[in-house]
């Protein structure tokens, strides 16, 4: 097993809600509410969940675009959760982000060459000629051509813009790229091109990805391991294929069942969730899924289930685990309350 590149421990991010003329804090949106996870060098960790699950907030905390409210983040052996802007700057060379909307994330007044070269300029890498050469290499690496160098973003299609974003993220040769819904805004035929590109770049450059998406099929295509979030908490983490074959948390099973191309295997019942994600201002007590879960019982309403180890790197937080035989479940219950994903 390769080294751990990034680790979050009990990470919390709350956004205060203020009211009245004196802007007194009346509550908090508990977007990320105690998440621990590890990203190993060279792997792709998929992060899935519905809107409001906190997946984007978690991603932004991991790259330190946001400062967490509490908890620890360790990157390459160094604690980074409390670093200020100046201390973060060298870290930016190793930790980059690709965003969802390629229309909003590129400066419309800059040429593509300048956009991709900006990180190099900011970090004062090479002279002008060397930077130009590097940008041309990057454009080629993402499937663009040298004559795109002088063009403006509006001349590009959505897919090409996302290639520009990826080239920019690669400019400083980072070790980890956090991609937040990088293909959600693209047409399906273009989405496949970008997913293939990300896979090729990973193989060539030995990158590590955290890949955030609401789309389970897309996440399966790119990920080695998958973490499922619900209302600010991790509810299941598993090797990718295992998660799709044998979901343990009913929430994961329901997400899978909701994908139309995934007609359930004959004999397996389809799990349907009632209602919608509860408010992150006041998450339900006990298991946060219980108001929507068809299997919920009294214990689910009162006790929040801890993440338990079901073997083979598969952990899940559920009082009524699916696809697990009794013995494994009992062992997990005895051995685990403190297990870390």
């Amino acid at each position: 097993m390769s080294e751990i590149l990034l680790e979050a421990r009990d990470l919390v991010k709350h956004f205060p809600v203020r009211k009245g003329v004196r802007r007194r804090q009346v509550g908090a949106v508990r977007a990320v509410d105690g998440v621990s996870l590890q990203v190993r060098a060279g792997e792709t960790l998929g992060l899935v969940g519905e809107s409001g699950s906190g997946k984007s907030t978690l991603a932004r905390c991991l790259v330190r675009m946001l400062m967490p409210t509490a908890g620890e983040i360790e990157f390459g052996g160094r604690r980074i959760e409390g670093l200020g802007d100046a201390a973060l700057r060298p870290l930016r060379r190793e930790l980059q982000m690709v965003f969802q909307d390629p229309y909003a994330s590129l400066n419309p007044r800059k040429r593509v060459g300048a956009i991709v070269g900006a990180p190099l300029r900011m970090h004062q890498i090479g002279d002008r000629a060397a930077r130009r050469k590097r940008v041309l290499e990057l454009l080629e690496a993402v499937g663009l051509t040298p004559d795109h160098y002088e063009r403006f973003p509006h001349e590009f299609s959505g897919g090409q813009r996302q290639r520009v974003s990826i080239a920019r993220a690669l400019a400083l040769a980072p070790r980890l790229i956090v991609a937040d819904e990088p293909v959600s805004a693209l047409d399906v035929s273009v989405q496949a091109q970008i997913l293939n590109l990300l896979a090729d770049l990973r193989d060539e450059l030995g990158l590590t990805y955290v890949f955030v998406s609401h789309d389970l099929a897309v996440v399966r295509q790119v990920s080695d391991r998958v973490a499922v979030m619900y209302l600010g908490r991790l509810v299941e983490v598993s090797p990718a294929e295992e998660l799709y074959q044998r979901p343990i948390m009913p929430y994961t099973a329901a997400l899978l069942a909701a994908v139309p191309e995934a007609a359930p295997p004959a004999g397996r019942e389809r799990i349907v969730l009632r209602g919608e994600v509860a408010s992150a201002l006041a998450p339900p007590p006990g298991c946060r899924l219980h108001p929507r879960c068809p299997f919920a019982t009294d214990v689910c309403r009162e006790v929040e289930p801890p993440l338990r180890d079901f073997g083979g790197g598969h952990v899940a937080a559920c009082h009524h685990p699916l696809n697990v035989n009794q013995e494994v479940s009992r062992n997990a219950a005895e051995g685990s309350a403190s297990s870390q994903p």
Binding site: D187, S189, L195, H214, P260, A263, E276
Partner: protein, 341 residues
């Protein structure tokens, strides 16, 4: 089809713009049977939305030219006056739009908006219309419907707003529902709920539906038949299961190959078509897909006719490649499989 509600023949929609004439829809024929669910599938710029919007006169503008005929109950919708059309629109043919966030008036309680929709078409006292509005909200699964009539749209979540839009659309028991990407803005679990609801209301009202979507998997789960559009033209059509299991046109192969599929082993790379969808009306002459088609040859400068080549009757496509050649060229990854909930 003896019992057809809608008969579209030779529909062409073009817009005069600064950059020349944009042919959004360039000759489309189809019929919609009573209670049938027809999916129009395509990427951006395929003309799928322009086709659907034109049925209701929603593309009528000074710079627009509409040709062909849309027959509905013996009358041609394209030739109706604005006043005649108003009696049909929202009454006999109703529309559900993609974005429930922008299709409701934010400064009017939802109850008033539904009452307005009812009273636009039926002579009914305000109080009676209000009771009917509450019934409708209850029918689409909104709890405490009576109390919620006075709530403004911002008090509803995205999924709930889409339910309100559906309540409004079915207010007058329309013969045809047109749903333009009704769940694209929503989470998958909510998407499944919305389509369950749509199936239920169609059961009750007996209305036919045209579903506009980019997602062939969703189309297969929901519809009876499908049209695949590219560059303003139909490139393949047939019973939806046939199109999904036994796709004939190289563009359909691309659409299916581009989606990561949960129903089969994960490929190292997705089957992706190069390039991007043509901008509206920007497709080449001849076969519209030839500039992106990996199998294009000389014959493709002329457009092939829609011909039945698949095994099932009514399964037609527009491609010059002969049957045996196709069997060889078609990637295995796009054949077979099933979709559905």
């Amino acid at each position: 089809m003896p019992d057809r509600v809608l008969d579209v023949r030779g529909l062409k929609v073009s817009f005069a713009t600064h950059e020349g004439v944009v042919r959004a829809v360039d000759g489309v024929d189809f019929a919609l049977g009573r209670r049938e669910v027809l999916a129009i599938v395509g990427e951006s710029g395929s003309g799928k939305s322009a086709t659907a919007l034109s049925l209701l006169g929603l593309t009528r503008a000074r710079n627009a030219t509409l040709e062909g005929a849309v027959e509905f109950e013996g009358a041609d919708l394209l030739r109706m006056s604005e006043a005649q059309l108003r009696a049909v629109r929202g009454h006999r043919i109703a529309m559900i739009f993609q974005d429930p966030m922008t299709s409701l008036n934010p400064v009017q309680p939802v109850g008033d908006q539904i009452v307005e929709a009812i009273r636009a078409h039926e002579r009914m006292a305000r109080s009676a219309a209000r009771s009917r509005a509450a019934e409708l909200l209850a029918q689409v699964g909104i709890a405490h419907a009576h109390e919620r009539l006075d709530d403004y749209p911002h008090r509803f979540s995205g999924g709930m707003r889409q339910r309100v839009m559906i309540a409004m659309a079915i207010a007058c028991n329309p013969d045809v529902l047109i749903a333009d990407e009704p769940t694209t803005a929503l989470d998958v679990t909510i998407q499944a709920q919305i389509f369950e609801l749509l199936a239920r209301v169609r059961e009750q009202t007996g209305s036919a539906m045209i579903l506009i979507t980019h997602d062939l998997g969703l189309a297969t789960a929901v519809a009876d038949s499908a049209l695949v559009m590219y560059g303003g033209r139909i490139v393949e059509r047939g019973a939806v299961g046939e199109v999904f299991r036994d796709p004939q046109h190289p563009y359909t192969w691309g659409l299916l190959g581009a989606i990561p599929r949960l129903d089969r082993p994960r490929p190292r790379r997705l089957y992706a078509i190069g390039g991007a969808p043509p901008r509206l009306g920007d497709a080449p002459t001849g076969c519209r897909f030839r500039s992106r088609c990996p199998h294009a040859f000389e014959a493709c400068v002329n457009e092939p006719p829609l011909v039945a080549r698949g095994a099932a009757p009514g399964h037609e496509d527009r491609c010059w490649i002969s049957g045996p050649e196709r069997a060889e060229l078609r990637p295995k990854a796009v054949v077979g499989g099933r979709a559905g909930w």
